[in-house]
C-alpha cells in the first residue's frame, strides 16, 4: 500500500521534466504520449513508491502535478475496502 | 454630497500664496497622502503638506524621484487614500508614464504642476504656461484627463477641491495646472467652514466579492472601486484588460477599453466645461485666456474698451476637456479670438480648431519668464478690429 499519491493535470504540463528528475523515490517517468499542446507529460511508473512528499508539486512550474500523503489507517481501511 | 472633514479645513480668512492655498485645498478635499520630489516653484506645496498633515492624520513622503512620487500616489489610492503629487516642468516630464498608468487603471489622483519656463531646466524660478499640451498628451497612447487652471490663490484653494472631486467622480488623473506667478502670488484666501465644502466620495462598490467585477462600468461608464485588503482579491494592470481586470491582448478588448476611457470624459464634456466670461455678449473680439495670463488680459480688455472696441474676455477654468462646443457657438457671433498665453502657441490650436473657420484666431505668444505687457494683447485686439 503506497504512503502517498500523486495527481497529474496532463493538459497543464509543459514537459519540463522537473518532477521526474527530483522525485526522491522515482515514482514518475516522462510519458511518450502527447497532451493537446504537444508536450510529453509525466506518468506514474512506480505508484507504490510514492510517499506523497509533494516535492513534484513544489517543483512543477506549471502547477500540473502534486502529491499528498495517504490518510491514517482508518481511512486507509475504508479505501482498501473500496478497491 | 458629503462635506469635508473639519479636521483638515483651516476655516477663516487668510493671506497666503497660491502654493499654500493649493495645499490647503488638497487637505480640505480629503487628501491624506502626498508623495513629492522638491522642485521650484512647486516645493512650498509639499513643504506645507509635510508640516500640516501629521496634525490632520496623514502621510507625506519625499520620494527619490518624480517617477517614484507619481506612482506612490497610485499605491496609496489603491490602499484607500486620496492622494496627490506636486511638481514642475522637469518633474512633470518624468511623471508622464504614471499619468498614463493612472488613466489606464482608472486611479483617481491629482497631479499639481506649477509651471515654469522650459524646455529642460529652463527658467526654474520664472513662469510659463508651456506644459498645457503635455498635460493633455504627454503620456503615450490614447487617453483622456481633466485639467484645471487657477488664476488666483483663492482659486488654487477652491479648484484644488474640485480637482479631487472630479478625479473621484470620473476615476481619472486630474492635472492641476498652476504657474509660477499664481503659485507665488499672495492674496486673501477665504476658507469656508467644512460643512460648506462638498466632497465627492470614493466610488466604492456595494457588491460583495463574488459579484464584483473591478472594471465593469456603470451607466456613466465609470466602474466602482475597491481597495487592497478588503477581501476582493482583485487585479489591477496597466496592460489592456477586460472587465475582470485580467490582461486581454485582443483588438476587441483594446477597442472596448480605450474607447470607454475616452468616452467617460468626452460624454461629460458639457458638464465639465467651466469658464468665466466678461462682456462676451455682442463682442466683436473675444480674448481667450487662462491662469495668470487671464489677469493681464483683463487689463488689455479694459484698455480696448476705453478705445471703443467691443471686446469680451473668456477665461478657461477647465482647460481639458477643451470646451469646443461652447467656443464654436461663440465663434459664430464674433470676428476673432485673441489668445495670449505664456508659450509659443498651445491652447490657441484648440481655439482655432473650435472656431473651425467661423472666426479668425490670433495667437499672442510669450516665451515665458514673465507675463505679457497688456499693450501686447491690446495691439493684437486693435489689429483685428482695424
Amino acid at each position: 500500500m503506497p504512503k502517498g499519491y500523486v495527481a497529474i493535470n496532463v493538459e497543464r504540463c509543459k514537459g519540463c521534466g522537473f518532477c521526474v528528475e527530483f522525485c526522491p523515490t522515482h515514482v514518475l517517468a516522462m510519458s511518450s504520449a502527447f497532451n493537446s499542446k504537444g508536450y510529453h507529460p509525466p506518468h506514474v511508473v512506480n505508484p507504490d513508491k510514492c510517499t506523497g512528499c509533494d516535492l513534484c508539486g513544489m517543483y512543477c512550474p506549471d502547477f500540473a502535478i502534486y502529491g499528498w500523503k495517504a490518510p491514517e489507517s482508518k481511512n486507509g481501511a475504508k479505501r482498501d475496502a473500496a478497491r | 454630497m458629503p462635506h469635508a472633514d473639519p479636521k483638515g479645513v483651516l476655516t477663516g480668512v487668510h493671506f497666503m500664496d497660491g502654493d499654500h492655498a493649493a495645499c490647503e485645498g488638497a487637505i480640505a478635499a480629503g487628501a491624506r497622502f502626498a508623495a513629492g520630489y522638491p522642485i521650484t516653484p512647486s516645493t512650498e506645496i509639499v513643504e506645507r503638506f509635510a508640516a500640516r498633515i501629521p496634525t490632520v492624520g496623514g502621510v507625506f513622503i519625499q520620494m527619490e524621484d518624480e517617477l517614484a512620487a507619481s506612482i506612490a500616489i497610485a499605491g496609496a489610492v489603491w490602499a484607500g487614500a486620496k492622494a496627490f503629487t506636486v511638481t514642475s516642468g522637469p518633474g512633470f516630464s518624468l511623471m508622464m508614464e504614471h499619468i498614463g498608468f493612472a488613466a489606464m487603471t482608472e486611479t483617481p489622483c491629482v497631479f499639481i504642476n506649477v509651471q515654469r519656463g522650459g524646455p529642460s531646466t529652463g527658467l526654474p524660478t520664472l513662469p510659463a504656461q508651456a506644459d498645457m499640451m503635455q498635460a493633455r498628451w504627454g503620456s503615450h497612447g490614447d487617453y483622456e484627463i481633466i485639467a484645471l487652471c487657477p488664476n488666483s490663490p483663492q482659486e488654487c484653494f477652491d479648484l484644488a477641491i474640485r480637482a479631487f472631486n472630479l478625479a473621484e467622480e470620473f476615476r481619472v488623473p486630474v492635472m492641476f495646472m498652476m504657474d509660477e506667478v499664481v503659485g507665488h502670488m499672495t492674496e486673501k484666501v477665504v476658507i469656508p467652514p467644512a460643512e460648506q465644502i462638498q466632497i465627492y466620495p470614493r466610488r466604492h462598490t456595494r457588491l460583495p466579492p463574488g459579484e464584483y467585477k473591478p472594471f465593469e462600468p456603470g451607466p456613466d461608464l465609470v466602474p466602482d472601486m475597491v481597495h487592497a485588503g478588503e477581501g476582493y482579491r482583485f487585479h489591477v494592470t496597466g496592460l489592456t484588460h477586460d472587465e475582470r481586470g485580467y490582461p486581454s491582448m485582443t483588438v476587441a478588448a483594446q477597442d472596448r477599453l480605450v474607447k470607454r476611457l475616452k468616452a467617460k470624459i468626452t460624454r461629460a464634456a458639457d458638464r465639465l466645461a467651466c469658464y468665466e466670461t466678461d462682456g462676451v455678449e455682442g463682442a466683436d473680439v473675444v480674448v481667450v485666456c487662462y491662469g495668470i495670463t487671464s489677469r493681464v488680459a483683463l487689463r488689455a480688455v479694459h484698455l480696448a474698451r476705453e478705445r471703443g472696441v467691443k471686446v469680451g474676455w473668456l477665461r478657461l477654468i477647465t482647460v481639458w476637456p477643451f470646451p469646443t462646443k461652447q467656443l464654436r457657438a461663440l465663434a459664430r457671433q464674433i470676428k476673432a479670438f485673441v489668445v495670449p498665453e505664456l508659450n509659443l502657441g498651445q491652447m490657441v490650436l484648440e481655439v482655432e480648431r473650435a472656431a473651425a473657420g467661423q472666426a479668425e484666431t490670433i495667437s499672442v505668444p510669450h516665451a515665458g519668464g514673465g507675463v505679457h505687457d497688456p499693450e501686447q494683447i491690446l495691439d493684437a485686439i486693435m489689429e483685428v478690429v482695424r
Binding site: P47, D62, W68 | A79, R233
Partner: protein, 310 residues
Amino acid sequence: MNGGVGDPAELGPRPEAEIPPEACECAPENPVEQFLRTDRMPHIWCPGCGIGTTVNSFARALLEAKVDLDRVAVVSGIGCTGRVAGYVRLDSFHTTHGRAIPFATGLKLANPNLLVVVYSGDGDLFAIGGNHIIHAARRNLDIKVICVNNFVYGMTGGQVAPTTPVGATTTTTPYGCFEPAFNLPALMDAAGAVYVARWTSYHVRQLTRAMVDIFRKKGFCFIEVITPCPTLYQRKNRMGEGLDAMKYYKEKSKVRHGAPTSEVALTLDGDIIVGKFVDRERPEYMELMRSQLAAQLGDRYVEVEHLVCS
C-alpha cells in the same frame, strides 16, 4: 515568454487533474490551486521556466506562515516575473516597469496593515528600478521583495541585465558581456535590508522557509531566487534546458548561512553561494516616522492607522 496564448476567455474550460481512482476519496486540492487565478491558466511562462516553481514556494509559505490572505497585496513590475501578480488570487498590482517598489511604498504607507510583497525580475528591480529599491531598503520600509534572477531581460527577448555574468552572451552583448554585474545580496545588505537571502528554484523547501521568515519579519526583506530561463539565457549560452539549469544549481550550490555578502558574487559557471546572509533588527520606517512625529508634535500629532477616505 511562451507565445500563442491569447485571451484566457478563449481557452475553454480548465482541465482537471487526473487523480488515481483509488485515491479519489482522500485527494485534496493542489495546495497552490487556491492561490491561482485558475481561469488564467495555462500561464505564459515557457516550458522549464523557473518562475512558476517560485510561486509554489510562495503559496506554501503563505499557508505555512498562516497569514490572513485578505491582507496580502502582491505588487509586480513588468517582465516575465512581473506576470506573477496577474496569476495569484490575491489583491495584486501589475504596475509599470521598475516602479513596483514605489507603488508598494504608497500602498504600505496608506494601509500599514497590509502584507505587501513585491515580486519582480532582476532587471525590473535593479536596472530601471535600482534607485527605488536601495531607497526602500535604506528607509527599512516594511515590504517583502522577492527578486527572480534569471540573469537576463526575459520578457523583451534576452538582453543584458545588471546581473548578467561577465562572459555570458545575450542578444545585446552578442560578443559576450563585459560589464561587471551587481552582487544583489551585497547591494541590499549595504542599503540596509534587515533580511537578505539567496536560493535557487532547486531549493524549493529552503525558499519556502525563507519566505515564511520574511512574512513574519518586520522591515525591508529581500530574497534573490536564481531561476532558469531556458528560452533565452540558457539557449544563448549553450546551457541546455530548464532541467539542466536545475541540475546545475543542485551541483554548484553551496549553503553558507551568514556568509559575508561581499563573498557571494556570482560568476558564469562558478559556485552559487546560497543561504540566509543577513537577519538583523533595525527600526522600521513607520515606527521611526511615528516616534519622531509624536516626540515633536506631542498631542498635536494625529496618528491614523489606515488612510482610508470616505
